[in-house]
Amino acid sequence: MAGADVFTLDPDEVHKSVAVLFEIEADVKSQTDSMVASNADAAAPLTAASTALGPALEAAGEWWKIHRAGGFTGLLGNTGEYLAVCAQEAVEVDDFNAGTFASVAGDIYPDRANATASSRPDW
């Protein structure tokens, strides 16, 4: 990598870290979906009972899913994609964009939803 005095990169290990990142991303997504679905189920009768809590609870669950847990998983996915590219072709953080991953993903991570890369803000 440009500018680095020391450089070590074990591609296999970096790919393993990518796999862990993607796995955590998927686990957190699915567990959050399940949590927020339970939250919405519990909020429904509260809303039907004309409480203020019901709608606020449902909105809080959605906010958590999209903005906080969703933000976390988004960061994990992005970092994983960056590391995947790193393992293939050394890049600097600032040189990375989702398109770079898209160019290598098909070979290494065929199951990843690369088709949506262009919808990301850093595309």
Partner: protein
């Protein structure tokens, strides 16, 4: 805004709400396993220095750590403190009011009363059937029992005539009972709506100003990461400010959880840089609040010194006969009055070397939990630490209560109560002067108005919640002791917002805002009242049924009326003086002693109700 009807409240599944809170908590635990995995398997595992080393590698490891840190903070601040705790608190509050309904609704139905009107202001009225029963001289048995007549057999006999003669009483009794049930129902719904709105606010305001997430790796990373780190370093201060300004929506219990999750360094920084965000906040432990408030007290006095000097300088250049001069002089006097009150308070609770003073008789430290010079002034001062005490007794003064009293007469009473509790029990009692509301300045018109009590109710609710939140170990036995308008303050807060108190004590009360002890949300057996036989207040129950009346449904205890008029012809003096005699301790030569009242109060406060006379 809560729009629940009583039927909807009755039918809520509080268990499901609580279970959802538990589910969120277990979800957080699962998520923490994931961040742990991120650190162990990625940062310190596959992506460790041995496998990936360069400037970029260091940056990526830091980025992943920041990401994990952020999510862990989110799990703590939002998923746990906000969502799970809100659900648990709401479930507890709803369930408490459901239990009240379980008792109340069968009573209303069994009396053949109707519940009418909108859900915010229910009326409980006599049903058409009950009207007819009374009009046709066939009143129900329960009503005959209350009035003290035999239920007519249906023939025109002596019992029927008695019912006819007593028809006004029958109506009056039925209407009076319906009124009590109405107060009770309205109080239940008011507290339920308040808890509901509080819960909704805690969740809604959660998303108002969240800390940003770390930036994504990519072209803008270097530009954004410093902003992110700066945002994180301001995060605690921003949260503390929102909490202190009352815009966070957090309950005292949530504030306490937030505080406990801060590092020592973060707490120290807040104390050092922003004591104004620590000192007045219910839910922050007493020791920290005391430290912060003492700093604020110093600063306020210094600030008043500067303002006084500036005002004096301005006055020197004004025409002494001008209106402008008069106004400035009045302002100057106000500033000097405030300064004098604060200095006296400071001297009362602080040693000459600046250390906190101890009340020598009980060997307990004074803790300053809040003060304010606005209006007639506010002060919350505790003798003993409420966080560690077995019993907490908060004395709520009435009309004329002001900042000056916090180092004068009001504090004298507080100290007397502290000493009496100390004498009555080996257990530790913290005795708090709670003047956390703007008390009325005059009997007429201000003390005739309920607005002072209504305005202070939220603050008293939060104070009691704060005592619960900061308690170390078992919750204390918490008593609110109101005097005069202070009883109206306590009763109004208990009925409209709810207070987390074990006992309510009403002394010399002009009424507590509701006509029945049942409306106070505290077990009636723990509601106490006393008015001595000369107290002038008995002639002016302007805020509802006097709590010493049997129909109120609480307990009463004896108080003497030990003060005498100074001249035989000053017939009013005994009545007015004895309104303030409940803490007379005979400590000064010639001073009256209301030993029985003080001892009864001390026994209630220390959980020895069986000794109350």
């Amino acid at each position: 805004m809560s729009e629940m009807t009583w039927q909807q409240l009755r039918d809520l599944d509080c268990g499901a709400v609580r279970a959802l809170g538990d589910l969120w908590k277990s979800h957080v635990e699962t998520m923490l396993d994931q961040t742990e995995r991120l650190r162990a398997d990625v940062v310190e595992g596959h992506l460790s220095v041995e496998n990936f080393e360069s400037d970029t590698a260091t940056q990526v490891r830091e980025h992943i750590t920041l990401t994990a840190d952020r999510y862990e903070d989110d799990l703590s601040d939002y998923a746990t403190t906000r969502i799970a705790t809100t659900l648990h608190e709401a479930a507890d509050a709803f369930e408490a009011e459901q239990n009240e309904l379980k008792e109340l609704i069968p009573l209303i139905e069994s009396r053949d009363f109707d519940i009418e009107g909108p859900h915010k202001e229910y009326d409980v009225n006599l049903s058409g059937g009950l009207h007819q029963a009374i009009l046709t001289l066939d009143p129900p048995q329960w009503l005959c029992d209350m009035v003290g007549i035999t239920k007519p057999s249906g023939f025109w006999d002596w019992d029927t005539l008695k019912a006819l003669f007593n028809s006004v009483d029958l109506y009056g009794t039925a209407i009076g009972l319906a009124g009590q049930y109405q107060d009770w129902l309205r109080a239940v719904m008011s507290r339920a709506h308040d808890a509901d709105d509080d819960a909704a606010a805690a969740l809604s305001e959660m998303s108002d100003n969240p800390t940003e997430l770390p930036p994504h790796l990519g072209a803008t990373y270097d530009d954004l990461i410093d902003d992110y780190k700066e945002g994180v370093s301001d995060e605690v201060a921003n949260e503390a400010r929102a909490i202190a300004e009352g815009t966070s929506g957090m309950s005292p219990e949530q504030v306490n959880q937030w505080w406990e999750n801060l590092s020592d360094a973060e707490r120290e920084a807040l104390l050092e840089e922003h004591p104004e965000w620590v000192g007045p906040v219910d839910g922050i432990p007493t020791e920290y609040r005391d430290t912060a408030n003492r700093v604020l007290l110093d600063r306020n006095i210094d600030s008043l010194d500067s303002q006084i000097a500036a005002k004096e300088q301005a006055l020197a250049g004004m025409d002494p006969d001008s209106d402008e001069y008069e106004r400035a002089k009045e302002e100057l006097d106000g500033l000097k009055g405030d300064r004098s009150d604060l200095v006296r308070l400071q001297e009362h609770i602080t040693n000459e070397d600046g250390s906190p003073k101890v009340y020598g008789i009980t060997d307990q430290q004074y803790y300053l939990l809040g003060f304010d010079t606005e209006g007639s002034g506010k002060a919350v001062v505790s003798i003993g630490n409420p966080d560690t005490a077995d019993n907490v007794n908060a004395y709520v003064p009435g009309t004329g209560g002001n900042l000056a009293g916090a180092s004068g007469g009001l504090m004298d009473r507080t100290e007397t109560m502290a000493r009496d509790a100390d004498n009555a029990s080996d257990a530790e009692t913290a005795t708090v002067l709670w003047l956390g509301y703007d008390a009325p300045d005059s009997i007429v018109p201000e003390a005739m108005q309920s607005k002072w009590a209504e305005d202070g109710s939220k603050a008293l609710e939060r104070f009691t919640q704060g005592v619960r939140a900061t308690a170390e170990g078992e919750p204390s036995n918490l008593t609110l002791t109101g005097h005069s308008y202070g009883t109206t303050m306590v009763g109004t807060a208990a009925a409209t917002q709810g207070v987390e108190a074990d006992n309510l004590v009403f002394i010399g009360s002009p009424g507590v805002g509701v006509d029945t002890a049942s409306a106070l949300g505290v077990d009636e057996s723990n509601v106490w009242a006393s008015t001595n036989d000369e107290d002038v207040i008995q002639y002016g129950p302007v805020h509802g049924n006097a709590p010493v009346n049997e129909s109120f449904g609480g307990n009463t205890f004896t108080s003497d009326s030990p003060r005498e008029k100074t001249e035989w012809w000053k017939f009013w003096e005994g009545a007015t003086e004895n309104h303030s005699s409940y803490w007379d301790d005979g400590s000064e030569p010639g001073e009256a002693n209301n030993e029985i009242s003080r001892s009864n109060q001390a026994h209630i406060v220390t959980g020895q109700e069986d000794m109350v006379r």
